[in-house]
Symmetry: C2
Amino acid sequence: MTEPTDFDGTFPDAARRAVYEAIARRRDVRTFRPDPVPDDVLARILIAASQAPSVGYSQPWSFLVLRDEELRGRIARHVEEERLAGADVFEGERRDAYLDLKLEGILDAPLNLLVTCDRERFGTKVLGRNTILEADVFSVVCAVQNLMLAARAEGVGWVTLLREEVLRELVALPETVVPIAYLCVGYPERFRERPKLETTGWLPRLDLKTLVHEERFGAPLSGPMRDALDRADTGRRG
Amino acid sequence: MTEPTDFDGTFPDAARRAVYEAIARRRDVRTFRPDPVPDDVLARILIAASQAPSVGYSQPWSFLVLRDEELRGRIARHVEEERLAGADVFEGERRDAYLDLKLEGILDAPLNLLVTCDRERFGTKVLGRNTILEADVFSVVCAVQNLMLAARAEGVGWVTLLREEVLRELVALPETVVPIAYLCVGYPERFRERPKLETTGWLPRLDLKTLVHEERFGAPLSGPMRDALDRADTGRRG
């Protein structure tokens, strides 16, 4: 497309569009083709993950690559137990809808990734962490989002139905290391146009204009900002 | 560059490169030009933020746009107090180096953004949150990372030297809403080649090969994965 120097400042239009497209088209993937993920692809998305911002440059992340089917089978069984237990908070049709949802692709995906946060990587005196103790965990979540965007062409699903203490024992994490994200990585059957929980009517898409405030939390949006959001949204869909 | 359909599956090479470049070249920005950020630009990056994954599609984020200089001045004074207080954990040269760092651009930037998480947006029964209670906060952090990548051409700096209780009072947040990220948004003087905390020697860049493990946490990397990471890293720099 361009010379490397084209990325020094403002990106060219086509490049900027690509970034927005990756963000808009990222989907949580639960259904995978069996094709393996080449090591070179995995390496690229891990490097992208490690380029996230981190509080005080503490880079608290680690990445555990899980391919072993026996271990993944044990994790999948735990997730299934939690999925069934999770149904108890819903009733009637909502409960049925919940139980119909496929919430993980642990064994379908060719590999799983556990992204962790070492809460004492450079000791506890990390620049910028004295006010917000969770800033290290936030750094790791930024890495996860980088990873998901980088893997947009590959496909990643985030599994949250896991209990920390169970996972910690299954993969033998050191005491200072906490699990942040359990991801299923592989090539998807397809990317959905809209999130599945939206199209199945689980929850509605919120209108961003109700979530943006100016100067005072909860204040209604000013006319210019409201118009700008409408214009940008139309542009994105058009 | 292309027809919209080009983004349905695997991205074209140029588009994929653009995504990797945005991720690699994102920097925390503390020094801004005074140029305003047009509402249309702000709208685009807020939409990108709102396209993050969220646990159970709960979309728990809100975005508070702060331009008022008096309010920002009060926030800046609080941050400066915390910056000075934060020096106490360091000694000698390290303390001097810390005090030399510019850690925010609250008043330099034309606008600030506070990204928050409503911990009860759809009540407390959110799909996937019964096991990991912080999954809603993680969702908002993913939105912040989207926002930072979308704003790569504009420039964003994340300020962590803020106490929740002080910020909560200054901007009058409702009880269920917690502040996650305070961001300075504007056009940077320039984007650094490497993070400032790396080039000033505050902390070294960690070798990703020591942070990736296979099957067992802490296990040394296999030859193929080690080679793949080396190849990907060389490719990125070349």
